[in-house]
């Protein structure tokens, strides 16, 4: 698994890798305005990660991107989402506290990027959770496969 795939696959991966990640973050960022959102964008970013993992093998895994860090980030994403939901508990759970408040995300222009109250923040939280969660699943699978192969 550490060897990776052929030259063609690796070259194509080098070209598309960054594009996929940028598109994924775009989908997350514009989740409250256009189709997509945290889940879809997170999955797209994670698919770039999967592509790199399949093309380059575990050699492409940098030390910083280990699964413990990814899993911690996943918990942070989930807790951020829940925390935003809890923030509205003065009125109702999931109440949108920032909407119509006149603050950063509470503008009156419904088409602006900084609109929608807590929705963009929730998209970021979900996106973080999905991309790190799927990435750690992939890493666990690859590491498991490598262990079996060496044994």
């Amino acid at each position: 698994m550490s060897s990776g795939m052929s030259v063609i696959v690796r070259t194509v991966t080098r070209f598309t890798y960054a594009l996929i990640i940028v598109f994924g973050f775009y989908v997350i960022m514009h989740g409250h305005l256009t189709p997509g959102g945290g889940f879809q964008g997170g999955a797209v970013v994670a698919s770039a990660f999967a592509l790199a993992l399949v093309a380059f093998g575990t050699a492409g895994l940098k030390g910083a991107l280990n699964r413990h860090l990814l899993q911690s980030l996943e918990e942070v994403g989930a807790l951020a989402f829940l925390g935003l939901a809890f923030a509205g508990v003065g009125t109702a759970f999931f109440y949108n506290i920032l909407a119509n408040s006149g603050s950063v995300f509470g503008g009156s222009d419904p088409a602006a990027l900084a609109s929608g109250g807590v929705l963009p923040l929730m998209n970021w939280a979900v996106g973080l959770k999905v991309m790190t969660g799927i990435a750690s699943i992939l890493i666990i699978m690859v590491i498991g496969a490598r262990k079996e192969a060496t044994e």
Partner: protein, 83 residues
Amino acid sequence: MIAETILQIVTLTLIICGAVLAVTLRDLLSSVIALAAASLLVSLEFYLLQAPDVAIAEAGIGAALTTAIYIIALRRTRRKEQQ
């Protein structure tokens, strides 16, 4: 309208072809690729049915991630299915 109908019929036919290939192919890597192609076509069909939200999710999860996971899993086993 007519063009869209034809496009839908073609897409649906290709989805069925991909699904049948994914089940029948003995070469497991080809089978996975066929499944990915079917997923991508399902994603296109979702887009045609005006569900772009679902289409993005299907393209990301169905076509890219599951394929990657299948390929990783395939490394642990043989490429050809035994009779």
